[in-house]
Amino acid sequence: MNKYILPLLLSLLFISENMFETIISPMLYGSQTIIVPHFLFIGLIFIALYYDAKLGVIYGAIFGLLFDIVNTEIIGIYLGCFPLFIFLISQTMKMLYANLFVRSLLTLIWTAALEYVVYGLNYLFGYTTMNNSFFMIHRLIPTLLLNGVVLLFAAYPLSSFLKGLREKKEEN
């Protein structure tokens, strides 16, 4: 049972991102603001931090590939970014002791880094002509606000859930 619970959780996060896009984003009609949910990425980071770093990287690769195939049809961007970022996060976290708040804050900073890298790649491949200041004001800041609010509510339950799973695994 415990084997399937993490993929199930990640799949739900994956679907929730798309649902957010089809249901919440129509409410933003007319404004220039672009809000991008990164629930899946947040979930992956928490798995790497509170459950198992190696498993986090592997799930990052799997769900990155899935994200690329289903959503963007350019295979490689998220497939590369997810595992790489999760690996780097788990490495940096080894170096410093951090509580939940600091970890959530760092998660948010890494989300910003992910946004920036993906923007850079899309700019490079000619999929967007958005300039940097517009990206910062109308996309990056609202995106961080949304994900920050989500982290605020989800960080504690998610981390304690994953800690519980880890304890159960270590008992066995």
């Binding site: 798309n18 991008v36 959503n71 517009f134």
Partner: protein, 287 residues
């Protein structure tokens, strides 16, 4: 040197980098078709999401209905005023239609560029990182959808079909700034139409760019832009938007018009895929 090959970790990293470059290069090719595993994964995931999306959209619809109710009285007044005009228009339209049909019979024209078979579809997935502006709809190959077909809502053109798999297909919206995303369009006038290409989208002003307009053409604000049907795949006369601003390009050879789209790209739930009947005929001949 041999030591280099014994470093397992380094080899793995190098191999993955090469794999990424290969995958990226493969998928950045503009003319590529989806491979079988991609189609399979896309279909499976999209259809699963459809199950989740239906109830969620129903609930969201309830909220929409409530806000609609608030505006009902005002809207009703406006609509009643418009209704009188509508009767007059519909009588005229019928007359024109009949005249058009008679003239067509007289000239023996069977196919019109404007005619299309509508295929109704529902949006099930929308890409969360809105760079590619991709939308997945729940009709695919099995419903007769082919690449490059026009996708419209009741308001106007929203995009074109990019990739087709068995039960779903991917639509790229015209709000994508992708260079390969071009649509032949014209500005409607009573005399000669002005032709141009819808090429790119200005995110900052939320306007489409209608490029390659001849420099001597006189374009005015508020003129209506429709598809030209010159590509052969798109039907003629699907509304796109209205002109808001005209600019000369940097060399002064052509003009660029900023077009305010009629369709609302944020709120796309139900779309119609317009299958041009002329296109149908052509592909039939090809086989």
């Amino acid at each position: 040197m041999p030591q280099f090959f014994y470093n397992k970790r380094l080899m793995v990293i190098l191999a993955t980098i090469i794999l990424f470059v290969v995958l990226l290069g493969y998928s950045l090719n503009g003319n590529r078709k989806l491979s079988f595993p991609e189609k399979f994964v896309k279909d499976t995931v999209s259809l699963t999401e459809k199950i989740f999306n239906k109830p969620a959209q129903y609930i969201a619809g309830l909220f929409d209905n409530m806000s609609d109710l608030q505006n009902t009285y005002k809207e009703n007044k406006q609509l009643k005023a418009k209704l009188d005009q509508y009767v007059e228009l519909s009588v005229k339209e019928k007359e024109y239609e009949k005249e058009n049909k008679d003239l067509r019979d007289l000239l023996n024209i069977k196919n019109s560029m404007q005619a299309y078979n509508p295929i109704e579809a529902t949006v099930i997935v929308r890409d969360p990182d809105q760079w590619q502006q991709m939308v997945t709809i729940d009709k695919g190959d099995s419903s007769g959808i082919q690449p490059d077909m026009a996708v419209i809502t009741s308001k106007g053109l929203v995009g074109k079909v990019k990739h087709v798999s068995k039960f779903t297909s991917t639509v790229q919206l015209i709000s994508a700034s992708d260079r390969t995303n071009r649509i032949s369009a014209k500005i409607q006038q009573s005399k000669d139409n002005i032709y141009g290409l819808i090429e790119g989208y200005d995110v900052e002003s939320q306007m489409l760019l209608l490029k390659e307009i001849p420099s001597n053409a006189k374009v005015a604000k508020g003129q209506v832009v429709v598809t030209s049907g010159l590509g052969g795949v798109f039907p003629d006369g699907l509304p796109i938007g209205t002109v808001t601003k005209v600019e000369r390009d940097e060399y002064g050879l052509t003009q660029t018009a900023y077009v305010k789209p009629l369709a609302d790209f944020d709120d796309i739930n139900h779309v119609i895929v317009a299958k041009s009947t002329i296109h149908d005929l052509k592909s039939g001949e090809g086989k």
